[in-house]
């Protein structure tokens, strides 16, 4: 490995080095300094990816390259990891989650996410997405005090392992049919075309699990409810964007087959309709956000379906926006939760007055998720439906717009709870004082939501370069 190679893949090296450093130095340092090391390293990985100019520099490492896509995805992943680490320090102290393994596991996740963004062959891609899942199995079940946490971890692990086996079988069939693991130029000869089609079908099923598309969505609400709130924030952003990027890398570089259009159509339709309708019935805010994430992944699948460059750029843009929105929503939940998780919607009554800053952030996140201008959520949805109509998926786009309108009901219900309801009976427990780290993280997420919504041209320029 030469110096040029090392410079090109520096975000990966930073994340891996920091994870090992945190694990090794953990016993000798204060919890606070460990958190700060982790935050600085995660942020540094993202900053490096932004400022590093030599996109597309030839790297001699097999299976890795720093492309325009990596330059877009790594900052998104690193922002998610940084904000998660900022949010989780005080949350973990309140909940008695001790030890340096939390920070180290978050950094290992970031490492795997960065590898995924740089992958150029199926082996590295598969190993990266599986490492991401592994780290999340651990993070979800780290809250030893709460019984739901371990249960959620086990459910996620079993579902994830089955999905991994299905994706692996799909990849093995694609390999058997085409004779190459490279992402570019996987061309199916006519004789083995049925094998490659079967492989693609299995990959779609496996990705549906990872993106939690209907009908493979059943694990999502349980896992979100059981996971600690900062982990749910990271899980709903990092792992979902990673799965979307995984699929995008497969689709964009190896000429998708026509056969996967129908399955993807049905998955997208089911997720948009069932996700939004089921969210209407939820009484727990984390379960509600889980169904909302299923619906949002349906929108992503709709954009992937078009197969056009516009659609792919809409997917990436929406991934970034969704990361900001969900980090704000789950971050506010984490910050408002004390020794007990604040789960039920009724526990948020009047919090807009007793905790004005965090209430406002939660309300902003809900408005953004509902897609109300001038937030970034509106812009993201606009690009998705625009790309879908341009790509000829008018029916599905109209269904999507209708379900998005329905979804405004349950998002605004949270805002109503925050500001316009009087508590029935006993008032919900007053939240503790917000800490500086939490306020910093929430401010960053809120600024991102508003900035992308009002002035999107910088991010659109980066996106244009990413897809060339």
């Amino acid at each position: 490995m030469s110096v040029t190679d090392a410079l090109a893949i520096m975000p990966i090296l930073i994340a891996a080095g920091a994870a090992l450093l945190v694990l090794l130095a953990g016993p000798f340092l204060q919890a606070r300094s460990i958190s700060w090391i982790a935050v600085v390293a995660a942020a540094a990985a993202g900053v490096w990816a932004v400022v590093y100019p030599a996109v597309g520099a030839t790297v001699t490492l097999p299976g890795l390259a720093f492309t325009g896509l990596s330059q877009f995805l790594i900052p998104v992943f690193s922002a998610a990891a940084t904000l998660t680490l900022l949010l989780s320090h005080d949350y973990n102290q309140r909940r008695g989650i001790k030890g340096e393994e939390f920070q180290a596991t978050v950094l290992f996740t970031l490492f795997a996410l960065c590898v995924l963004a740089c992958a150029t062959n199926l082996l590295i891609l598969f190993l990266a997405i599986e490492s991401v899942s592994f780290a999340f199995y651990i993070l979800v079940s780290l809250d030893l005090e709460r019984e739901e946490s371990g249960e959620a971890g086990l459910k996620y692990l079993l579902m994830g392992a089955v999905a991994a086996a299905i994706v692996a079988f799909g990849i093995s069939l694609i390999f058997a049919g085409t004779g190459t693991l490279a992402l570019t130029g996987a061309f199916a000869p006519e004789a083995t075309r049925p094998i490659v089609s079967a492989g693609w079908g299995l990959v779609v099923i496996g990705i549906a699990f990872k993106l939690s598309l209907v009908p493979a969505h059943l694990w999502t609400p349980d896992v979100y409810q059981g996971a600690p709130a900062p982990v749910a924030a990271f899980l709903s952003t990092g792992s979902k964007v990673a799965a979307a990027a995984f699929f995008l890398l497969l689709l964009a570089f190896s000429r998708p087959l026509a056969e996967i259009h129908l399955p993807l159509y049905l998955l997208s339709l089911g997720s948009m309709v069932i996700g939004n309708l089921a969210a209407l019935l939820q009484k727990n805010i984390k379960r509600m956000l889980a169904y909302s994430s299923i619906a949002h992944m349906g929108y992503l699948a709709l954009a992937l379906l078009t197969g056009s460059r516009e659609g792919y750029s809409a997917v990436l843009l929406y991934g970034a926006i969704y990361t900001a929105m969900n980090l704000a929503a789950f971050g506010a939940i984490a910050s408002l939760s004390g020794a007990e998780e604040r789960g039920e919607l009724t526990a948020y009554t009047g919090l807009g007055h007793t905790a004005p800053f965090r209430g406002a952030i939660l309300a902003l996140a809900m408005l953004a998720l509902a897609g109300i201008p001038p937030t970034a959520g509106f812009l993201g949805k606009f690009y998705i439906f625009y790309a879908a109509i341009r790509g000829g998926e008018t029916t599905l786009a109209i269904i999507g717009i209708v379900t998005a309108a329905i979804s405004a009901y349950f998002y605004l219900k949270v805002v109503v709870q925050l500001y316009m309801r009087e508590p029935e009976g006993a008032a919900p427990a007053a939240p503790h004082q917000g800490t500086p780290a939490e306020s910093l993280a929430l401010t960053c997420a809120a600024v991102a939501i508003l900035f992308i919504g009002i002035y999107p041209s910088p991010i659109l320029r980066v996106l244009d370069a990413a897809l060339r």
């Binding site: 082996l123 079940s141 019984e147 739901e148 079993l158 991994a164 086996a165 079988f169 058997a176 059943l218």
Partner: protein
């Protein structure tokens, strides 16, 4: 003797189906589900090795080796979690892990 390409694929598909059936049918026992997942991944390795032999390149064998490492990591993680949950509830029956309605 060279075994035909399609015979190996059929064998692998059968193994994969059996593993999946094991996971679906024995949903009540975590250990049985893990065994089913293991069988599924073994059929994947078989396909990779066969693909390697067919095209005369080592990539598939490499993937199979990586999968062995991956499965052992997965199983160790799963078993650790099973032991941890077993201490809490004295059970490996998945029906006992239903505190969340879902």
């Amino acid at each position: 003797m060279i075994i035909p390409f399609y015979h190996v694929l059929i064998l692998a598909s059968l193994l994969f189906g059996m593993g999946l059936a094991c996971v679906v049918a024995w949903r009540t026992n975590v250990i049985m589900m893990l065994i089913g997942i293991e069988i599924m991944l073994n059929s994947v390795m078989l396909t990779f090795v066969e693909g390697s032999a067919r095209w005369g390149i080592a990539d598939g064998q490499l993937f199979a080796l990586m999968l062995i490492a991956l499965t052992s990591a997965e199983v160790s993680l799963a078993l650790a979690m099973v032991v941890y949950l077993h201490r809490r509830k004295q059970s490996v029956n998945t029906d006992d892990y239903g505190s969340m309605n879902g």
